[in-house]
């Protein structure tokens, strides 16, 4: 089926089966928990941020294929990146999920595969869970980095 093939692309299923960021990290500097009260999905995110760069990232997801794959892609893309780059990617991804386009010059990598989710409005919150959790984690690391942690009615995030 057209819609389903768009949603469950092979790259998404690959991330779901063997997610990135599965390995625990030694000395996390930030630990945040995000969950989706409506459907019960949750994930724990720990980051090792040193000198403005994400040295290590561990995500323990528990949820549907979309939320797990999205978290896995986040881990894949952000390991080794600067916190500034993380903020930018997070903003771009949120905008794309809400109907926007990737900024020109951005390479979304595997994240491009999640665009099919846009055709399933009730599942967008699944794709956003990891990214809203990241937003809180970055704000916790440095409040000046994230001007405002967005309150999302579907997703709750708290220090873990």
């Amino acid at each position: 089926m057209q819609g389903l093939d768009d949603l469950y692309r092979e790259v998404i299923l690959d991330h779901y089966r063997t997610p990135h960021g599965a390995e625990e990290i030694d000395a996390p500097s930030v630990r945040v928990e995000g969950f989706n009260p409506l459907c019960g999905d949750e994930l724990v995110m720990t980051l090792d941020i040193d000198d403005g760069r994400i040295r290590g990232l561990h995500i323990k997801p528990s949820g549907c294929s979309i939320s797990v794959a999205s978290a896995s892609m986040l881990a894949q893309q952000l390991e080794g990146k600067t916190v500034q780059e993380a903020v930018q990617l997070k903003e771009s991804f949120k905008a794309v999920m809400r109907g926007g386009d990737w900024p020109s010059g951005t390479d979304p990598g595997d994240l491009e595969a999640l665009e099919g989710v846009k055709r399933f409005p009730v599942r967008i919150k699944c794709a956003l869970l990891a990214w809203m959790t990241l937003e809180q984690a970055l704000a916790q690391h440095d409040p000046e980095l994230v001007s405002q942690v967005e309150a999302d009615k579907d997703i709750e995030v708290r220090a873990y």
């Binding site: 819609g3 979309i66 599942r123």
Partner: protein, 422 residues
């Protein structure tokens, strides 16, 4: 249901094709496929007769009730009070005065917590619930217990999802003041032995509240025979309108209950300083009620009684037999609840061991099949079952075995989408 007065007559098969013709929504398509509506435990659909009754009230008799001496107000009042009397006869309640209209089961249970329990329970008292309760029959008691310092105790389930009746003696004691229990579990489908539980509750002097949200829709319910003090249900889960709920209260308890909301309709006299209350049930129904929904409820009871509640029960058991048999053909499924189709109402909760229920729900939706996926407002039970979420297919009078086949085929298709073996 096992807890009701059995009819002497043999059950008649429900003519599903004829029933379906009465439900306009069932002829629509979803994603280009015929709608297979299997989310009846969340809310059922409504027959034309109910939709028409509501529309007709607004067209011909609309007015506010219990005030005004004009003809329309009188007609509206008659219709509203007529619906109350209808509920009383439908559920074998001694007097219509025992029928309180609310918004839904949740509000009915909150009414008992506010108007009865808050006045009668003290620090150190206990309330017995079960681990299977819907949040609506758990959260109000958590709030109350935190407020007055009483204790919640829980009856567990066995591996098949039957309540551990054998543990009643351990959980109940002289401190138990209230037993609040579901008639039928909205997740496991288990029909609970209410008379047995009520009898044990009485022996320690506790009152009994039954959450009948999944009780009334699925078979004959006899309030007098159940021997409970409070019975709550939501007509929208039994072909009635959204927006109206019912609470049945033992007549003797009505007088020892405080009002629920304060305002119009619920008073006898009001001065600037204080007020006195109207007689029950109006004392508990402040403000303008949902009159059109009461009229729709009346029409839905007509429809249910024409089908026959015993026949509806029989129909669900027949679907259960086939549904459980077909689901058991799929070895990758975990099926929750009793194995005997006679021990459950027409709903089955299950999980594909490799596909998350939300993904399953999305794939099924693309096949036109509407199921519920998630925690079913019973998070403690999900934890007890060791899962985060589950999928639930719930059947009603207009569903037949062919829709079980559509469900099974969609479950197989989901395996294909996820590249899993069948």
């Amino acid at each position: 249901m096992s807890t009701s007065t059995a009819q002497a007559t043999e059950p008649q098969a429900i003519d599903v094709a004829r029933v379906r013709a009465d439900f306009p929504i069932l002829s629509r398509e979803v994603h280009g496929k015929p709608l297979v509506y299997l989310d009846n435990s969340a809310t059922t659909q409504r027959p034309e007769a109910v939709i028409e009754a509501i529309a007709s009230f607004y067209r011909t008799s609309n007015a506010n009730v219990h005030r005004g001496v004009h003809a329309l107000s009188e007609e509206a009042t008659d219709a509203y009070e007529g619906a109350r009397a209808r509920v009383a006869s439908f559920l074998n309640v001694e007097t219509p005065d025992s029928v309180i209209f609310t918004r839904n089961t949740t509000e009915s249970i909150n009414l008992v917590a506010h108007s009865w329990a808050r006045r009668h329970l003290r620090t150190g008292d206990e309330i017995m619930l079960s681990v299977t309760e819907h949040h609506s029959n758990l959260v109000p008691w958590q709030i109350l217990s935190q407020e007055i310092g009483c204790k919640l105790r829980f009856l567990d389930i066995d591996d098949e999802g039957h309540l551990r009746i054998d543990q009643l003696d351990e959980v109940l004691n002289e401190h138990t003041r209230l037993v609040a229990i579901s008639h039928v579990s909205n997740v496991l489908g288990t029909i609970n032995p209410i008379p047995t539980i009520a009898c044990a509750a009485r022996s320690v002097g506790a009152k009994v509240l039954v959450d009948g949200a999944q009780g009334v829709p699925h078979g004959p319910v006899d309030f007098s025979a159940l021997d409970c003090d409070f019975y709550a249900y939501s007509p929208h889960k039994a072909l009635g309108p959204l927006g109206i709920g019912v609470l049945l209260v033992d007549r003797d308890l009505m007088e020892e209950m405080d009002p629920f909301l304060g305002g119009g309709e619920m008073i006898r006299d009001v001065t600037l300083e204080r007020s006195t209350w109207a007689a029950a049930p109006h004392k508990f129904e402040a403000g303008t009620p949902s009159v059109a929904d009461a009229v729709g409820l009346d029409a839905s009871i007509d429809y249910l009684e024409t089908l026959g509640m015993q026949n509806i029960r029989h129909h669900e058991v027949s679907i259960n037999e086939y549904l459980l048999e077909r689901l058991q053909e799929l070895p990758w499924l975990t099926i929750f609840g009793p194995k005997d189709p006679n021990d459950r109402c027409g709903l089955v909760t299950f999980n594909d061991n490799q596909i998350h229920p939300h993904d399953l729900g999305t794939v099924l939706d693309q096949h036109g099949v509407a199921i519920r996926a998630g925690h079913h407002c019973a998070k403690p039970l999900m934890r007890r079952l060791g899962v985060m979420a589950s999928a639930r297919a719930s059947f009603y009078v207009y569903n037949d075995r062919s829709e079980v086949d559509v469900l099974i085929n969609a479950l197989l298709a989901a395996r294909e989408v996820f590249g899993l073996s069948t």
